[in-house]
Symmetry: C2
Subunit: 390 residues, 2 copies
């Protein structure tokens, strides 16, 4: 298949491109390199050094004889985006090209406006480009489990049957997103659903949980094919941060009471889920939603697992409760359905001791590169103006 990967230079986009290229698909990456630009602005760094996109692609070609195509461009530039749909006529487009950090979106007004404009208008541009130039193309869109918030009822996959005053209907699942970033994904979901209805587009909205892991079968072939490992306060997720803190000898900073439960998924499973979605496309006019998680944990459970595992490496990790910079429920019910990807064939890689050990071993190997200044949160949801000081 001809597959266009928007944001194919990012944490997920790059290993996705490799995986699908290895499977024999014809892959084109479209990326504006904005994730790397943010690091440059702030002085942040992936814990594993990254090659340029050009170098990555050349290494893959040299190793595997497979050509990944690339074009540097921005989904906000409709002419550039439309041109690639027109030329390529992709069978599927995987849309990772969004600002993906909740704390980033909460820094101040400009970051909130940038996040919502970039994500919402970027996705509108993708929808119009499909409609105008490749109407049969399957849109695979990365959403987030954070769109749902923490309702007191089970979370379903996108839709819920509601019985009310003697009548019933199947309606979009009510959303309670917890940051301007998560809100942007809710806005996208509504826009995509509408375009499927009016234009007959076909779309899969993957409400992804928090992704952990740094390696896939393809990235492991050569260190020059590595993807990002973020542990900073803006882009690093809890498990990465905990592993780095354990190795650096600083306490694991659990926000609030630590009883916040979220859905998680291994990087390898994420990439497989997207392949599964691509291989079983929706019908014309169909908008479908899969919850892309395999397990759920509380923050405390994650922290305790890291503390336990780090003992095997001779580390004495401590947990420290940190005033919660987010506004979120800290004690809540959480049970999210996630059967549709399993039904398509997903065989989950769960968060085992082996996985944790590999993450810790990796952080130990990179110990000299750890910058502890970037870990502690300075972005508080309650403030309208935050400084990100590394």
């Amino acid at each position: 298949m001809r597959i266009l990967i928007l944001g194919g230079d990012g944490y997920l986009g790059w290993p996705q491109a490799l995986y699908l290229s290895e499977k024999g698909h014809d892959i084109t990456i479209f990326d504006n390199l904005s994730r790397r630009h943010f690091d440059l602005e702030r002085g942040f760094n992936s814990l594993i050094p990254l090659q340029t996109l050009h170098e990555r692609i050349a290494v893959w070609k040299a190793l595997m004889g497979k050509q990944i195509h690339m074009r540097i461009g921005d989904v906000m530039d409709y002419e550039a985006l439309a041109a690639i749909f027109q030329e390529l006529q992709p069978d599927a487009v995987v849309h990772f090209a969004e600002q993906r950090s909740a704390p980033y979106s909460m820094i101040d007004r400009k970051h909130a406006v940038f996040t919502q404009t970039n994500n919402v208008v970027g996705t509108l541009n993708v929808l119009y480009a499909i409609k105008e130039f490749a109407p049969a193309c399957h849109l695979v869109k990365l959403g987030t489990m954070g769109e749902y918030g923490t309702p007191n009822i089970d979370i379903e996959e996108g839709f819920i049957e509601i019985h009310h005053k003697g009548r019933s209907d199947i309606l979009p699942y009510p959303k309670q997103p917890g940051s301007f970033y998560h809100l942007s994904k809710v806005h996208d979901s509504h826009n995509i659903m509408f375009c499927c209805k009016i234009w007959g587009l076909r779309a899969t909205d993957l409400n992804q949980g928090i992704v952990y892991g740094f390696e896939t079968a393809e990235t492991a072939l050569d260190t020059r094919l590595a993807t990002r490992f973020d542990y900073d306060q803006i882009y690093g997720t809890a498990l990465n941060r905990f592993c780095v803190q354990a190795v650096a000898g600083s306490p694991l900073t659990v926000y609030g009471q630590g009883q916040q439960i979220r859905g998680y998924i291994n990087l390898m499973d994420t990439i497989r889920c997207i392949e599964l979605a691509i291989m079983s496309p929706p019908k014309e006019s169909e908008y479908r939603v899969f919850n892309q998680i395999t397990e759920q944990f509380s923050l405390n459970e994650l922290a305790e697992m890291v503390v336990e595992q780090s003992k095997h490496f001779g580390l004495e990790a401590q947990i420290k409760f940190f005033p919660n910079p987010r506004v979120e429920q800290e004690q809540h019910y959480y049970n999210a359905t996630h059967t549709r990807l399993i039904e398509l064939g997903l065989e989950p890689h769960l968060l085992s001791e082996t996985v944790l050990a590999s993450m810790l071993a990796f952080a130990i190997a990179q110990r000299s590169s750890i910058n502890q200044q970037v870990i502690l949160p300075t972005v508080n949801w309650r403030d309208a103006q935050n400084e990100v000081t590394p």
Copy 2:
């Protein structure tokens, strides 16, 4: 009270400003005049001639001795918007400053992107300006009943209690908006609800039905105080169009089967509802939603009422079914709760024969100004690129 009216030069904003000024409030209008600009671009015109905002304000001052303050500015210009919040310290802000036409938003990609950017970012700017400079200010935001779509269960006021798998929660009412414009209002609703939660803002989201009528006690004092009467395909709503068509001797164009039911409200009631919301503000952190309608009708019912009433004026109006340019359910259940504004004291002006007669009499008086070229729809929801040809 000190009240800031964003979009105070528009169809609703202007009579709202007069009404609240008459009641003794200190009124400031902030408007970028974009609605008038659209008419200039397209060669459209309100059926009743409009004075400039400067002239309107001067007439009101001369007649009533009351000064309405004005500033020409755009909610997209954060510095200008923030400055007025900082200087004025308003008790309430009424936010009409959005692109308000569904067909406009469906013209093409640029109009869709403009509508969502202008409305979503404009409202984000208002939220940040309140948070930073007037945190106790009550945001009264115009939403739309079109946010709900046409679910097969009763529509509630913003939230619904859902029982699911033995548990229950009160959650935001699921939304199924029917245009990029209606989607922008859904995006706004989510953003506002979130800011109430994280920053303790207080907001009333008024999901308004389709407004009809052209006169209030204040605008009737002098023709130079008149508000708009739109009957074109972009900004004219069905009842206005039907009245103008009846008077012009052209058939009343009912879209599709005409069984589409919507909520309606008289201009005078809309203005009173906003006063009621202002006089009973929500608590800190409270986000409340009122359904601002008084009745519901199908398109066919409206058209038949106009046909009947026009007989009294010696007009023989015909109904013509027109291929539906919109993508919407044409046969559906519709029952929308609207009790909260009644509880606050609203006494509805229903769509009586007298009201219809006054609309027809008005259209007859303005008959020579009717431009029939602007009435028939050229914007089709199924197309990504439409030309608006007057």
